[in-house]
Amino acid sequence: MKRFPVALLGFLAVGASVATAQQITAAGATFPAPVYQKWFGEYHNAHPDVQVNYQSIGSGAGIQQLTAGTVDFGASDMPMTDDQIAKLKVHPLHFPTVIGALVPVYNLPGVTQELKFSGEALAGIYLGTIKQWNDPALAKDNPGVKLPKDDIVVVHRSDGSGTTFVWVDYLSKVSPAWKSKVGANTSVSWPVGLGGKGNEGVSGTVKQTPGSIGYVELIFAVQNKMTYGSVKNASGEYVKANLDSVTQAAAGAAKNMPADFRVSITNAPGKGAYPISSFTWMLIPSAIPDAKKSAAIKAFLQWMLVDGQKTAPMLDYAALPKEVVAQETKQIAQIK
């Protein structure tokens, strides 16, 4: 009986501390969700008075929630379009957080060497103009490799996603035919191919279907030990995706970075840059009415640009290059 009042006091104390913690809600992209969850956890350990709650419901849904005002900030794998920005009452600021990459995974049982793909070859495969593995375009990129005569089974995403957007954005840049025939969006009208749901669906279909090719996030391919090829970049070299080549892509694009960070870094110039890379952004409103919340979010962004960038590579996410970090630190001052 004596324990009860003590327990009650303890419970109330915990309740009080949780109640006084600054609650921040966010929602959006699924690609960076693992690293965001890790960051929010680490930040809460360092600053117990701030608690961020992140829901990875997808980039599109995250933007919708930000527009509806149900979350404090959003996250997206693609930059917001002008139409989407116009719908928001408060202008959103884009903060790139980490860099992701897409790799072409394939299943060719007879071929042991790693394949090289040029942008035109990938566009041709996905347009359906390159139908077999031993097509001259693929043979040109892979001299000395005996490619089989089998049909290429193309696999793409059936669900709309920022991942698809990065892939088709890259194809639009390297292939005028793709740009005019299909274009770029989170969901497109694929000329050929089977659709798999999520990275898991695409990788599952590719793993099971001999002669197939698909695209998945780099982290996914690495963690699932899938075979993926290298891609020819804008400088003409065949680059295999890894954390360094992806960060190089962002560094290459940093020279021409627009002030609002809404840029696509696919097919980025520069040596060693991996061409199918992309930023992922946090979308922070430029004016936050609650002063405590505004201060907490600004402090988190400062932390993210320094300490957060050190933890990202541990989860296989590429960190931002220092030029971009410097520019972003200046943008934090724009939040009121």
Binding site: G58, G60, A61, D159, G160, N185, S187, S189, Q208
Partner: protein, 318 residues
């Protein structure tokens, strides 16, 4: 004496009020079902407004699905939904009704009860689990053995042409058939068991064999229940989402071949709705939902008409 009469009258009045209240409450519940359907149709109608105004009737006949140029068409999805459901019924109705006949007429009671219990467990398995089962077991089997076999034997038919991916209309139809089995078997078995014993005894007394009794007397008597179970199964097949999207190949195009990949209405809504941006794109998906609703109503209406026609024909027989 007067108090007794008064008590009886108050008892009758209070039981009458009680009855009235009960009637009212139950009427409200029934009206709520109707209200929910009306609200559903209203929401689908309103939600699909941008798409209906922008695309008009061509939505129902177009095969294009292009989110970039915002041109959408429902035809491949209607085709996929109807083909997979029809295929599912084609496979599961003969097998299901046959199994139900075995369980009700020929199996010993213990075996029948045990097997029925297991069959009803199948109905409780979630759709996603069936989808995973299909991906890991059915699709490789179809790709390595099933589809090549069909191409070798029946390849001259337009239904079995084209490369064998493993995924496609046929695999989706098969997994839907597995999912509709439990409904057909359990409801048909119940209707067959409900046939009165004297019908069977009369047939046997007139000299028919056991099979003749079953097929010519018992099954026609239970026909309505069996048809009801088929439409229950069809309702499930039309709306099935996760299992279908995992094995149908998710390709919005129309092919005659059953080995080709396709798409269904429920699958495309599940896949694309969360990331659909703009105003025409999500409303096109809502309009697909409206189309599915109408397809379901049309098929159920046809079912009702068929039942009315067969019962009328049955009663006209001398």
């Amino acid at each position: 004496m007067a108090t007794a009469v008064l008590e009886k009258r108050t008892a009758r009045v209070s039981s009458q009020t009680g009855d009235m209240i009960a009637r009212l409450v139950v009427l409200v519940f029934a009206a709520m079902v109707l209200l929910i359907s009306v609200v559903l149709v209203y929401e689908l109608w309103v939600g699909s407004a941008p798409s209906r105004h922008s695309l008009g009737w061509s939505f129902l006949f177009s095969s294009e699905w292009n989110p970039v140029s915002e041109k959408f068409g429902a035809l491949p999805f209607i085709y996929g939904t109807v083909v997979t459901s029809f295929l599912a019924l084609l496979i599961s109705v003969p097998l299901g009704v046959g199994a139900a006949i075995f369980l009700s007429e020929m199996a010993p009671a213990g075996v029948s009860n045990a097997l029925t219990f297991l069959v009803e467990l199948l109905a409780a398995i979630p759709s996603v689990i069936y989808g995973l089962l299909a991906i890991f077991t059915l699709v490789p089997l179809m790709r390595s053995y099933g589809e090549p076999f069909l191409k070798a034997t029946l390849g001259f038919l337009p239904f079995f042409k084209g490369p064998a991916f493993g995924v496609g209309f046929l695999t989706a139809g098969i997994i839907l058939a597995v999912m509709t089995f439990p409904f057909i078997i359990s409801v048909s078995r119940e209707s067959l068991l409900a046939v009165p014993r004297d019908q069977r005894e009369a047939a046997l007394a007139l000299g028919s064999t056991q099979w003749e009794t079953t097929w010519k007397v018992v099954v026609p008597y239970a026909k309505l229940g069996i048809i009801g179970s088929v439409f229950l199964g069809l309702a499930r097949a039309l709306g099935e989402t996760m299992a279908v999207t995992m094995v149908i190949g998710n390709d919005p195009s129309i092919h005659a071949s059953l080995l080709a990949p396709g798409y269904s209405i429920a699958a495309v809504i599940a896949n694309e709705f969360t990331e659909a941006t703009g105003s025409v794109y999500p409303s096109a998906l809502v309009e697909l939902g409206l189309v599915l609703f109408c397809v379901t109503i049309v098929i159920n209406g046809l079912a009702r008409l068929m039942i009315i026609a067969t019962t009328r024909r049955g009663s006209k027989r001398p």
